[in-house]
Symmetry: C2
Subunit: 326 residues, 2 copies
Amino acid sequence: MKVKGKNWVKAEDVARLAGVSRSAVSRTFTPGASVAEKTRAKVMHAADQLGYQVNIIARTMNTGSSNFIGIITAGFDNPFRSKLLSPLVNQLAVHGFMPLLMNADDPDQLAPSLKQLLSYHVAGVIITSGAPPLLLAEEYLVRKIPVTLINRHADLAGCDRVASDNQQGMQLMVDYCRQKGWSNIGFIGEDLSNFSTSERYSALTSLTPDLSVSARFITGGGYAAGRAASIELSHCQALLCATDMLALGAMDGLRSLGSETPLPAVIGFDDIPQADWDPYNLTTVQQDTEGLAQQAVDLLVTRIARFDLPSRHRAVPVKLIVRNSA
Amino acid sequence: MKVKGKNWVKAEDVARLAGVSRSAVSRTFTPGASVAEKTRAKVMHAADQLGYQVNIIARTMNTGSSNFIGIITAGFDNPFRSKLLSPLVNQLAVHGFMPLLMNADDPDQLAPSLKQLLSYHVAGVIITSGAPPLLLAEEYLVRKIPVTLINRHADLAGCDRVASDNQQGMQLMVDYCRQKGWSNIGFIGEDLSNFSTSERYSALTSLTPDLSVSARFITGGGYAAGRAASIELSHCQALLCATDMLALGAMDGLRSLGSETPLPAVIGFDDIPQADWDPYNLTTVQQDTEGLAQQAVDLLVTRIARFDLPSRHRAVPVKLIVRNSA
DNA sequence: TTGTACGCGTTATCAC
DNA sequence: GTGATAACGCGTACAA
């Protein structure tokens, strides 16, 4: 005798109690199936009584299409990515999808992780900014599994992409600088291999042929990196940072110099919760995380419905939040 | 003709290519099954060639036990919870489990979420501090699905619990205060219905019969809450906070008063990354998130193997990190 | 509208 | 050690 650990209530149990066939139960729980109102009522009553829940595993097996979506991201410790995770999970839930979370902190572990995800027959994959190289994602596209990138470069044909409007964001920053009369500008970014940094930087240079721009790119791109980089750029009038983490570090770096010379203004990008804290009061370009999540899920859902679509790209508008740091 | 979207490679395909039976393929991928080395080699070769991955959905259906673990948490925006999420996901992966992430930000949405999770036939559930009332979790225990709580009260018999050693943490704080000669102490916490706050507060009162302790409990328990509460407690010599977020807010609240009177020392609890930032340099009790995650998963795994176990509780040691705020 | 019968891809069982 | 066969729980074409 097989010892199955659990004794799940199955459709057959409900059918027996309701005095109908098993198919009737199945139809009751299948959206858009045809069941007599009276039968449906009987079934629902019996189901409630037994605490029946459709076994999604079995349903997936049968229909061949799962409602799992892989979310591949790195560094939950990064406040912006955490901030993005919430609406992402919520949006997926709205569409009836269940996220499978994969941590890509360790680049070496990414390949096996992606492989493993495959065996869950995910309906789609969302890859966020922090995650390492995604040549591996090709495996998904070959299998006609949609891949959506958030704030990443579209290294791959056939996958959709949503990103904050970096061009607009830098335009806002530059306009603000001009308005203030700052012409000697510094830029702090992560590695140039980082999509957000490189796109924001190239937007900046294209917008400011007339201004003096000195830039520092620091691997890692966290608080400490910003802190270090700012010290080398203290002669600027304004420091534009590719992320808020860099900006907050920069502010502290500048402050550590003492107040002998006037300190540069600092502008960030993201609007993480910490930007609003007293010691910073950071002026920053706010990313619309709700919007990013909504667009990403929408792209994914439509492509799941129909894989043969041209690659799409959506830019989500950003907003300048003026506080005291600039 | 049924139109299945994908053309997954199945065991049968591998079997055909390898010139063996489907069972041989299954055995090759089933840990601890008996296969001739030569057969295994043939199978592996064919599998690699076709890019075969075991269909976990089908395996789950058959064996009756899934490797899904539900993680129920609220507020990824809380740095401490984000910090905990990483090792949790990693630990689960180590044991071959796949986390299903449920956001419990909206208490009203929690009930349906938990119900839904049930239909994935999760092998177990982890509930973290932020999540709303868990009477609902009883549904799981009735079905013999293990539930492990992290930094929560064990409202329920039969579920395991892991928490930082709050008693020890408060002892460290109090010892430090005595050593410094502070006898007029303030405490800032979230609601008393919050487990961490209430346990830390009662530990504090039991440890300090001889000292004067005034306390403020503020719903929400974030940065703003700490900021507001601190102002009412500025007469104290030391402010002990139930979380780092409260502590950081408290420091800023105190600073906003100007430096007319000497400001109280501030000690936090968590050690989130922001505690180490320049403007704060917060002295705090560090929670061992790796340890919490490891213990939680261990408890879960052992109870999955054997449900009839007495309720267990594990306290994870904490550590005082002395910085400049106290 | 309802019930019967089959198939989804895998693992477990049982003869060989 | 290996291959045939029976489950696992559900959706659905088909016949009634």
